[in-house]
């Protein structure tokens, strides 16, 4: 994954309430990580995003 894609993922998480300071740290050090470390990070963030988006969707559906 490229830095731009990571940043896009991070921006989505920020819009869902994640901590800016921490995610900015990961964005800054992403290129210093090894390939498997990058994969672990991305997997972690994607799983979180998926669960948060699911929660948001459920909440919206319940309202309507």
């Amino acid at each position: 994954m490229k830095q731009e894609e990571l940043n896009e993922l991070i921006n989505k998480l920020l819009s869902l309430g994640e901590n800016r300071d921490e995610l900015e740290l990961w964005s800054k050090i992403f290129q210093d990580l090894g390939p498997s470390e990058q994969v672990s990070l991305i997997t972690n963030l994607e799983n979180e995003l998926q669960q948060l988006e699911h929660f948001k969707k459920t909440k919206t559906e319940n309202k309507s």
């Binding site: 921490e22 210093d32 979180e48």
Partner: protein, 307 residues
């Protein structure tokens, strides 16, 4: 003196919880002894209290041995100076036995710290499962719970990143154990605080854990680089103590050391710099961590355990 001479030769890649070489499972030992003497089985809380007492005794012995070794070395240095003899950093044969005893105690102390943390976590889990199951299910569905879980995962990832940047050039078992132990160090501080009635039984949050891992892990790695790897076993003790006792000023130190490493190790320097920037925003949490660790009996504090 050769780097890490006097320290047991351990394979750092095998340093995992429960697999520590020479490990003494204190809790099991306590239980077995209790059963042998026909005494009642110790509860986890009682085990934690016993372990804490044992840790304090060990810490006193560590402090005494360290002072004795350093005293002997200072005296020897003075004699060498008076007689115009060439000076050496090597341990004199007369302190070999004390040094071995010190290394063994430090190993046991680190193992016990990990066991205490495991017990503390197990107590937390028991408490959680005892709660209303419906309430737990609802909590897990909250966004904050999802974020917490993800942050704890990233704190572990950060620890692994720092560990992997260290284990290739640091062979000291004590140093590597200190790094391995970092993500749960605050749990142990809180566990001992709870037993002594100083702290409530709160859990260390995911964001807090990540901040503490970043601060302690990167401080240890930075200080090690500052010494350029020329650390004796006693020197490593000092580095660990320094990292803990000055953790609130770590960001500045980390950034300065990063600056000096820019040419030699640009990737590590860049990472240190980024972590330093992140920690500069977390001053309040670092002060909390320092306070927590100073109260912990596991801190290798030269002046004692509790300020």
């Amino acid at each position: 003196m050769r780097k890490n001479e006097g320290a047991p030769n351990l394979d750092s890649t095998k340093l995992k919880t429960g697999e520590l070489p020479g490990a003494v499972n204190v809790a099991e030992k306590l239980e077995t002894e209790s059963q042998k003497t026909g005494g009642p089985k110790l509860s986890p809380e009682e085990q934690l209290i016993s372990m804490r007492r044992e840790a304090e005794t060990k810490q006193q012995e560590i402090t005494r041995l360290t002072e004795s070794i350093e005293g002997t070395k200072t005296e020897l240095k003075e004699i060498q100076e008076k007689r115009g003899l060439p000076q050496t950093d090597e341990d004199p044969p007369s302190i070999t036995s004390s040094r071995n005893r010190l290394n063994k105690l430090q190993e046991e102390q680190a193992t016990m710290a990990i066991r205490m943390s495991e017990l503390h976590q197990s107590l937390n889990t028991e408490r959680q499962t005892g709660e209303n199951s419906q309430g737990v299910r609802e909590n897990q569905e909250q966004p904050e719970a999802v974020m917490e879980k993800a942050r704890i995962g990233r704190a572990d990832l950060l620890k692994n990143v720092i560990f992997s940047r260290t284990k290739d050039f640091v062979t000291s078992p004590l140093f590597l154990k200190a790094l391995n132990y970092i993500p749960v160090i605050a749990d142990v501080g809180l566990a001992s605080g709870a037993i002594l009635g100083r702290e409530g039984r709160r859990k260390v949050g995911g964001g807090e854990r990540l901040c503490y891992t970043a601060a302690l892990g990167m401080a240890l790695l930075s200080y090690f680089h500052a010494y350029e790897g020329n650390l004796t076993a006693a020197g490593i003790d000092t580095v660990i103590i320094t990292a803990i006792m000055t953790i609130d000023t770590a960001p500045v130190a980390i950034k300065k050391i990063a600056e000096s490493l820019e040419q030699k190790s640009p990737k590590i320097a860049h990472m240190m710099n980024a972590v330093g920037d992140y920690l500069l925003k977390k001053r309040e949490q670092l002060v909390n961590l320092k306070d927590l660790l100073r109260k912990s009996p596991m801190v290798l504090s030269p002046e004692g355990n509790t300020p």
